[in-house]
Symmetry: C2
Subunit: 354 residues, 2 copies
C-alpha cells in the first residue's frame, strides 16, 4: 500500500478521508471506505449516545480498519425568545403552506460534546481509532484523555487563528475546511469576521504556518483533487459530497435526485437552515429565509429544529424543496458508485502520476 | 526548458503567467517575467491607446519573448443619474473629510474594448504574442482578426456558462478565475447569480467540461500552488498578488506597506470601489461604502471615478485608507523579490517533484 504522508502512515491509510456528514454517513459507508484503504467516518453529533454507540459497534462489525467518529463542539445556544419568535413569524407562510401550525417553542436539538459527559465516556469506552471535533474543541483534559486511550484526534479549522488554537490545545491534525465545503462550516466563533478562504489557500497557509498535518476539505471531488491538495503540502484530503450518492449513504431519494440534477450547480452558504453557516443546494426554503435582510435565524441548533419540522411536514406532502440538501461547490461532479468502487477510482486517480 | 502543457509549449513558456493587473503591471515587470521564462502581462484597460502602445513598445524593447496584453470588454455603463447621486450622497462624509466637494458629475473613465476601434487597430498593428479579454468578449470578427494576425487569445471565465461561450466564440484558452482572485472578477453579466466557485473547483469543472486549455487564476502564491493547479489539469497558472511586491510593479508605497502588513489577511470582494465585484484589502472606504444596505454603487466604471477622485484627495493628506489595494486571498504569502528572482523561485518550487 502506498503511503503519502506521515498522517496516512500513522493510520495506515491512503490519504483519502470520507467526511463525517451527520445524517448522511452510515456504518456501511464508513466501513466500505475504511475497508478500501481510506478513512471512513461517522458523524454522531446529531445522534443520542445510545444510537451513536450502536453506529460505532456496527461499523466495527463491518471493518477491522481504523475509522473516525466526529462530534459537534459548538457553544451551546444562547436562547433569545424574541429572535426565535421573529424567525418563526418569518417562516410562517411556509408552515402554513404545509398545513402545519407554526411551532410555538423550539428545541436545542443537539447536545454539544463540550458538555456531554455521556458521549465522552462512550468514546473512551468504544475507542474508535480517530475522533474529530467540529465547531470548536472540547476541554483540554478530555482531548488528553481520548489521546491517552490511543485515539488520534482531528479538529476542523476554517482560518489560521482556529488552526493555531487547535495546535496549542494538542490536537494531532487539522482539517482545513475551505469555503467550497458542503454542510456546516466548522467556525468556532460566529462573531469573528470570516475571510471565507478557499480550501487551497487555507491549506497552503496552514501548511506554512502550523506544525500539524493538514487535511484538505472542501470542493475535492476526485483523485486529481486529492493529488492537487497533496501538492500544496496536505497530508490527506477529506471528501464529503463525493460520497453522498454512494448507495451506502443515508441520503434519501429526493436528496439524491437533487444532487444528480443541474440544481446541484447552485449551492448557497446560509445560516437559514440551522443557525450556522452551511452550504447546501439552493432551494425555496433558503430563498424565502433570505428574502428579508435584517431577520436573523434563531441560534444553532434551534433554527435547525424549525427547518427540520417544516421539512418533515413538507415531505409528507411530497414537497422536498424545504430540505437541507448539503453539498459543496463542484457537487455536479459527484459520481453514483458503491463506496468501494468509488474508493478504488479515487485511489487510481490519485496514484496516476505518482 | 521543461514544458508542462500544450499551451506552455505553444507559447514556449513555463506554465506561469503574471496576471495583467491594470495599474500595477509595468513593461519592466512583464518583461522580467517573460525573460525568466514565464508569460508577462500588461493590463491596458485603464490606459488611453497612445499610452498602451507605448507600454507595449517599451516591453518589446525589454524582451524578445512572448507577452500578454489584457483589455477590458465590459458592457458600457448604463448611466443612472439618480443612483449616481444617491451614491455620491452616501460617500459625501468621506469627501468632506478630505476637504473636497462631492463630485457633481462622474465619468465613464474606461472605454470598453468592445467599442474601441483605435485600441483594436493598435493591437493588430503591434501584434503582441498574446491578447487576453476580461469582463466579456469582443465581437467575433475582431477575435478572428487578432488570431489571423498570429495573436494567441485568452479570456477570463468565472463560471461554466462563460467558459462555454468563450469556447464557442473560438478563443484559444480560458483563464479560470476563482473567487480567491484579487482585483476584478471577470464576470460577463452582473445580473447572473454568482456561485463564487473557488479556483480549484472551477478549474476542475472547466477541464472536464470544455476542450480548451485552462489557466488557473486566484489564490496561487507559489510554485506549489502552480503544481497543485497543474494536477487538476490546468495548462498553466496565473499569479497576480504574488507579483505586486516586485520592485518592477507600479504599486505605490502605501499599497506595498498595506500588502506587507497583517491587514492583507483580510480581503473583501466588493463592488463599492468600482461598480464591479473586485477583491481588495478591507479598508475604511469599503467599510463605509457597505455600511448601509440598499445603496448600490454607481455602474462600472463610473463608481471607480468617484473612488479614484476621493483617493487622490485623501492621498494628498497622507490618508491611504480609501485606496483600491487589490489583493487575493492568501495575500500575506506574497514575497518581496525582484521579478526575475521570484520567477526563478516559482520555477524551482513548481519543478521540485516533477
Amino acid at each position: 500500500m502506498s503511503i503519502a504522508s506521515p498522517l496516512a502512515a500513522r493510520l495506515g491509510i491512503h490519504p483519502i478521508i470520507q467526511a463525517p456528514m451527520a445524517g448522511v454517513s452510515t456504518p456501511e459507508l464508513a466501513a466500505a471506505v475504511s475497508n478500501a484503504g481510506g478513512l471512513g467516518s461517522l458523524g454522531i453529533g446529531a445522534s443520542i449516545v445510545s444510537q451513536a454507540q450502536e453506529m460505532i459497534e456496527r461499523t466495527r462489525a463491518l471493518t477491522t480498519r481504523p475509522f473516525n467518529v466526529n462530534v459537534f463542539c459548538h457553544q451551546p445556544a444562547v436562547r433569545n425568545t424574541a429572535q426565535e419568535a421573529a424567525w418563526m413569524a418569518h417562516l410562517a407562510p411556509l408552515f402554513e403552506e404545509c398545513g402545519m401550525d407554526v411551532p410555538t417553542s423550539l428545541e436545542e436539538i443537539y447536545k454539544s460534546f463540550i458538555e456531554d459527559d455521556e458521549a465522552f465516556e462512550m468514546l473512551l469506552e468504544t475507542r474508535p481509532a480517530v475522533v474529530s471535533f467540529h465547531f470548536g474543541l472540547p476541554p483540554t483534559e478530555r482531548i488528553r484523555a481520548l489521546q491517552d486511550a490511543g485515539i488520534y484526534t482531528l479538529a476542523t479549522a476554517t482560518r489560521l487563528q482556529e488552526a493555531r488554537e487547535i495546535q496549542e490545545r494538542g490536537i494531532d491534525a487539522i482539517v482545513a475546511q475551505g469555503i467550497e465545503a458542503g454542510g456546516h462550516r466548522g467556525i468556532f466563533d460566529l462573531d469573528a469576521a470570516d475571510e471565507q478562504l478557499s480550501t487551497s489557500v487555507l491549506v497552503r497557509l496552514l501548511v506554512k504556518q502550523t506544525d500539524l498535518p493538514i487535511i484538505a476539505a472542501g470542493g475535492i471531488m476526485d483523485g486529481q483533487g486529492v493529488r492537487s491538495a497533496l501538492e500544496l503540502g496536505a497530508a490527506a484530503a477529506q471528501l464529503g459530497t463525493a460520497f453522498i450518492l454512494c448507495p451506502e449513504s443515508a441520503a434519501n431519494a429526493s436528496y439524491r435526485a437533487n444532487l444528480k440534477s443541474q440544481c446541484a450547480a447552485e449551492t448557497r452558504l446560509t445560516s437559514a437552515l440551522s443557525g450556522r453557516p452551511a452550504r447546501g443546494i439552493l432551494n425555496r426554503f433558503i430563498r424565502h429565509a433570505e428574502s428579508e435582510s435584517g431577520i436573523e435565524p434563531a441560534a444553532y441548533p434551534v433554527a435547525y429544529d424549525a427547518a427540520k419540522r417544516l421539512n418533515a411536514a413538507a415531505a409528507k406532502l411530497g414537497n422536498h424543496d424545504f430540505a437541507a440538501h448539503w453539498a459543496g461547490q463542484g457537487a455536479t461532479m459527484a459520481r453514483e458508485l458503491p463506496a468501494a468502487e468509488l474508493m478504488h477510482q479515487l485511489i487510481r486517480e490519485w496514484q496516476d502520476t505518482q
